[in-house]
């Protein structure tokens, strides 16, 4: 394993002596820095040269941690000194890197205590770049290699390093930014600590006001969010249950098609439903006009506000609760119901007294999920909210609006986080103990009992119209892009698609003329980079959680799942607060978008990985270990190949989620890196519904084809494999069997 040590040490050397230490304006991979004064230009110099050319003497001590490990290379692994050298250099290097990064910023010393002594204008630095990144990574690996040599994790370098790596990145990209929100909530507008200003802001009338109950002013934002989330969660859970019951307990003929509904939320950008609702029920919507003509009703703005947002959210999240509840309803063991029926309970009583109580934890789970989703939802309130303000959008306006009050935004973020985290905790604590749904893997015989006629009819009458409405809405989205101007001129046009996606052949070659191309390609490429990273981080974490046991494992699990409960807007604002200034100055880059996607979607990768890995017999890993393979090659050669379906699912999911996500993204996009969703939101704000809808349908189609293509590819592989297999069998069965049994 010394090879890997040499490798990591080399990485550190490259980071310190060769790559530009600080962040480059145009990114490392533009490579223009190579021909633009490297290595002596002060923007491009590696750390070692910065020490002399720009007098950044404080970078010099970092070299110590690159030299010390050389000594370790001469020692034997079992030597105590070997571990000591590595632990020392790794932890010193990391600590010094962090401290100097925070201590010296763009305008010199950051700690006012020292500022008086070193008021030197030269004394400053910008955000860390790839050089620093490699150096930090190298230090981390030296530290974990050293710890492993001390016997941590039974001396397994791969496992120790993986744990170290995950802890490090989750700390930097989840805990650190969120802590910045906390800090900034406790600062007044001058940046000094002040709990008074926090209390002022927190108990503001605007947040908690109850005026709407007595007078005709709007209620506090917190109440709005809470009401909305509770209503959405209740209704979606009910609808989801109706759908789940139809699919699992009735002979409904279009069950398969109904199941397809569950795919919808994944491929739908969050505000699309809102848009379609505007086209249908808005002031100049089709339905509105129809009724206006028929009854002479005045077209009203009822859609803009609580009813509209609720309507859109229920449409958006019902499929999610449907998906969750299918599993729950199927999980109720048929033998329980059969037992109840043999005890002379009729179907209604069996459902009421046996099935429903058994499903209760699952229902609670669906409820809490919808609650979190609704709280965190940004797109629908953005499009349909009107004067109905909720936390997630208010945070956005506090940052980008005229007020630009970061402290206020931070307070709102904390509040929102408190709501979603409580739901998250409730879900984990409550469900951890009370899951009756059997997951033993033992097949339970018997069929689920049918619903009694009353219940069946009510399920049908609730769910089917809703399914129809969903269909209409998606139809609307597909066709809306071909209509000239909603409510005014309903003639067919290709204009919107041309505006967005026109191509032109000129003498210069292909010109991407449409206005949408830019954000379209950015979106695809950033999502394509983020997807494999998400899958990798997620599956590695799942491996550690399922296959390794270590102290604080539940804390580790909690930390990695936490970002699931952090609303996108909170992530957005926390990233702005944390990564706008050195040492990590990432706002405005594409990197911050990628990082954001990786950590937002990681919990899903982890869950998928855990589910898949728990199905793999542990003795497979153990067999590989006893055959002399180390844990890294076991992971690579045994576990990963067997997890292929989970990997593909994680890849697809994170790719698609990155395309559709908007809440965090809208804070982090920049002129150079605009994403499709934030571009569309801009269109909607300008009232350009036609192009917006056209763009949305293109996105939906792209995602659908990606999903289909991947499924096809995977299916193809399976087919080929089974062909090869049947050939192999034929070949062998012709060979004379030399079994011992034959003797």
């Amino acid at each position: 394993m010394k090879n890997s040590l040499v490798l990591w040490l080399l990485v550190g050397w490259v980071g310190y002596f060769i790559l530009p230490w600080y962040l480059l304006e145009d990114g490392l991979f533009a490579f223009d820095w190579l021909f633009d004064g490297y290595p002596f230009d002060e923007d491009y110099s590696p750390a070692f040269i910065q020490v002399f050319s720009t007098d950044k003497a404080w970078l010099l001590p970092l070299v110590i941690s690159l030299l010390l490990p050389l000594k370790a290379l001469t020692l034997k692994k079992s030597d105590r000194a070997y571990a000591s050298y590595l632990i020392c250099s790794g932890s010193l290097g990391l600590a010094y890197l962090v401290i100097q990064g925070f201590a010296i910023g763009v305008s010199g010393w950051q700690f006012s205590l020292f500022a008086n002594y070193f008021l030197d204008s030269e004394f400053n630095q910008y955000g860390m770049g790839y050089g620093a990144l490699l150096y930090g990574l190298s230090m981390l690996m030296l530290l974990t290699t050293g710890l492993a040599a001390r016997g941590v994790m039974k001396g397994d370098v791969f496992v120790t390093s993986s744990i170290g790596l995950i802890i490090a990145i989750v700390t930097v990209f989840v805990f650190y930014p969120v802590s910045q929100v906390l800090i900034s909530a406790f600062q007044d507008n001058q940046g000094a600590f002040s709990s008074a200003s926090f209390i002022d802001k927190f108990f503001d009338e605007k947040i908690w006001g109850l005026g709407c109950t007595t007078r005709s002013v709007s209620c506090g934002i917190a109440w709005n969010s809470l009401t909305l989330a509770l209503l959405t969660a209740t209704i979606t859970t009910g609808l989801g249950l109706a759908f789940a019951l139809i699919v699992t307990r009735t002979g409904f003929i279009w069950k398969k098609q109904l199941r397809l509904l569950t795919v919808l939320p994944i491929i739908t950008p969050p505000f699309v439903i809102g848009l379609a609702l505007i086209l249908l029920f808005g002031r100049s919507g089709v339905v509105t006009e129809f009724f206006a003509d028929l009854f002479g009703l005045e077209a009203s703005r009822w859609l803009y506000g609580l009813p509209g947002v609720l309507f859109a959210q229920v449409l958006s999240f019902t499929p999610i609760s449907f998906l969750v509840l299918i599993g729950v309803v199927e999980g109720v063991s048929p033998s329980m119901e059969e037992a109840s029926q043999t005890l002379r309970a009729d179907r209604w009583n069996t459902f009421k007294n046996v099935s429903l109580p058994l499903m209760r934890p699952g229902l609670a789970n669906a409820f809490l999920l919808s609650f979190i989703e609704s709280m965190a939802d940004f797109g629908n309130p953005m499009v349909l909210g009107g004067n109905f303000e909720v936390l997630s959008t208010e945070i956005f306006f506090a940052i980008v609006g005229a007020q630009n009050d970061q402290g206020y935004a931070a307070v709102l973020a904390i509040l929102l986080l408190a709501f979603t985290l409580s739901a998250f905790f409730a879900q984990r604590i409550w469900l951890g103990k009370k899951s009756y749904v059997t997951v033993s893997g033992k097949a339970d015989s018997g069929a689920h009992m049918g619903l009694n006629p009353m219940l069946k009819m009510s399920c049908y009458s609730i769910a089917l119209p809703w399914a129809l409405l969903t269909l209409v809405i998606y139809g609307m989205i597909m066709f809306g892009g071909f209509v000239k101007s909603w409510g005014y001129d309903h003639s067919f046009t290709m204009q919107h698609y041309e505006d967005a996606f026109a191509l032109n052949w000129t003498e210069l070659g292909l010109v991407w003329q449409g206005a949408a191309w830019d954000s379209f390609w950015t979106t695809l490429s950033i999502s394509a980079i983020a997807a494999p990273l998400t899958a990798a981080v997620g599956l590695l974490t799942a491996y550690l959680l399922v296959r390794q046991s270590f102290k604080w494992k539940s804390g580790f699990e909690f930390g990695t799942m936490l970002s699931f409960a952090i609303p996108g807007t909170v992530i957005g604002i926390s990233y702005i607060l944390a990564f706008n200034v050195p040492p990590l100055e990432l706002t405005g880059t594409g990197v911050i978008l990628i990082i954001c996607f990786v950590f937002r979607n990681m919990p899903v990768g982890v869950r998928g990985g855990i589910a898949a890995m728990s199905q793999l017999d542990k003795s497979l890993d153990e067999a590989s270990l006893t055959l002399g393979a180390n844990s890294f090659s076991t992971f690579r050669n045994v576990i990963l190949p067997l997890l292929r379906p989970a990997i593909i699912a994680a890849l697809t999911y994170s790719f698609v989620r990155a395309i559709t996500s908007v809440s965090a993204v809208i804070f982090l996009v920049s002129a150079d890196h605009n994403m499709a969703t934030s571009y569309i939101i801009g269109l909607v704000e300008n009232g350009e519904f036609g192009i917006a809808i056209a763009y949305c349908s293109v996105l939906i189609l792209v995602m659908l084809s990606v999903i289909l293509a991947i499924n096809l590819l995977v299916g193809e592989r399976k087919l080929r494999r089974s062909n090869r297999l049947s050939n192999a069998i034929k070949k062998n069965s012709n060979a004379p069997l030399k079994l011992k049994e034959a003797e």
């Binding site: 017999d617 153990e622 069998i729 049994e741």
Partner: protein, 357 residues
């Protein structure tokens, strides 16, 4: 300390293994001689698998030392130990062909692919699976899969071969045949093997020595013959080959023999470490002779509660002064019927004095 005659030996030195509050192994010491096949035998949950996994390095001892070939490996992870293991579930990698499975360990330890495959083919031939290399494990029968697992373990020429209930997924007929094969291979290659089973017949059939475990400790260790003929406790007597345990009185001791009173009948038995006074006697079911009562015969009077006809043997439950006795008769002609009175006598073999516990 490492010497040639130690190669392949396994030593447990006061090993303890705790899982939280549960003590799975409690201060266990033993030594497996090179070239021997030693069986770990015992009821479910007694710690056999745990012991085996500690030899493999898949679990680490909470206290004590483990030595393989004279070298202390207590802290060494599985990857670095020169042992290989045949798993109860076989643990064949489902995405690799048979030959890739067998070559896996060789490739992992740096042997080049060609050589690894050639060696693997040899190993497959050794277990009688020549020509099956290209198949996937899922295309083999249970018995064939089991052999692949053995070939995969053997091809590495390990110092110690570990087998965890390797036959439990096979049907009864095949089980007997495969266990003979494993034993044959082990002796041919002169391998040290540690074998876990809870089937005492299997253990008797394949082992040089048996270590019987009970409740996290070693109950007795010895050759199959010793365990059967000189059990040191009623647990062993009952576990190895069934026994009726009855209270007896030792009346007299002379030379190596004692005179034992069994409910009025007197028998001379090997004395071993026993002295005068009350004792426990283990009576094998086939050491009890029953005759239908007719007049004044010697013997203990009893009554047959149940009689079961099994073709080659009759089984009886007999109620008598000693309690309820389980009797097996291989030499029956007619068989006795339930409800009839019988006289009970004992054969000369199949009676052992044991410590009460």
């Amino acid at each position: 300390m490492k010497s040639n005659h130690d190669k392949g030996s396994v030593v447990f030195d006061h090993v303890i293994k705790n899982y939280g509050d549960v003590t799975a192994i409690n201060d266990v010491s033993f030594r497996v001689e090179p070239g021997n096949l030693v069986t770990l035998l015992g009821p479910s949950g007694c710690g056999k698998t745990t012991t085996l996994r500690m030899i493999a390095g898949l679990e680490h001892a909470s206290a004590g030392r483990i030595l393989i070939s004279g070298k202390d490996v207590t802290q060494l992870p599985a990857t670095d130990r020169d042992v290989s293991m045949v798993f109860q579930s076989y643990a064949l990698f489902p995405h690799m062909s048979v030959v890739q499975n067998v070559a896996y360990g060789l490739v992992a330890s740096g042997v080049n692919k060609q050589e690894a495959h050639a060696k693997s083919e040899d190993a497959l031939a050794l277990v009688g699976l020549h020509g099956y290399g290209e198949r996937l494990p899922s295309e083999l029968s249970g018995g064939q899969q089991q052999r692949v697992a053995v070939a995969r373990a053997l091809v590495l020429e390990p110092e110690v071969l570990l087998l965890d209930e390797p036959l439990s997924n096979l049907d009864a007929k095949l089980r007997r045949q495969v266990r003979e094969e494993i034993r044959e291979l082990q002796q041919k290659l002169g391998l040290t093997a540690v074998y876990v089973t809870h089937d005492q017949e299997e253990a008797m059939a394949v082992s040089d020595r048996i270590i019987v475990m009970n409740k996290s400790i070693i109950a007795q260790e010895g050759s199959p013959k010793t365990l059967y003929e000189e059990p040191n406790s009623s647990f062993i007597a009952d576990f190895i080959g069934d026994a009726n345990l009855v209270d007896v009185e030792i009346l007299d001791r002379a030379n190596d023999r004692v005179n034992v009173d069994i409910a009025g009948l007197q028998k001379y038995l090997p004395a071993r470490e026993f002295s005068l006074g009350p004792a426990k006697l283990a009576i094998r079911p086939d050491a009890i002779q029953l005759t239908a009562s007719a007049g004044n015969q010697v013997g203990i009077t009893g009554n047959i509660r149940h009689a079961t006809y099994l073709g080659n043997q009759m089984q009886y439950d007999v109620e008598c002064e000693l309690g309820s006795l389980f009797v097996v008769d291989y030499q029956f002609k007619q068989g006795l019927i339930a409800g009839s009175d019988v006289q009970i006598n004992f054969a000369d073999r199949g009676l052992v004095l044991v410590k009460a516990n």
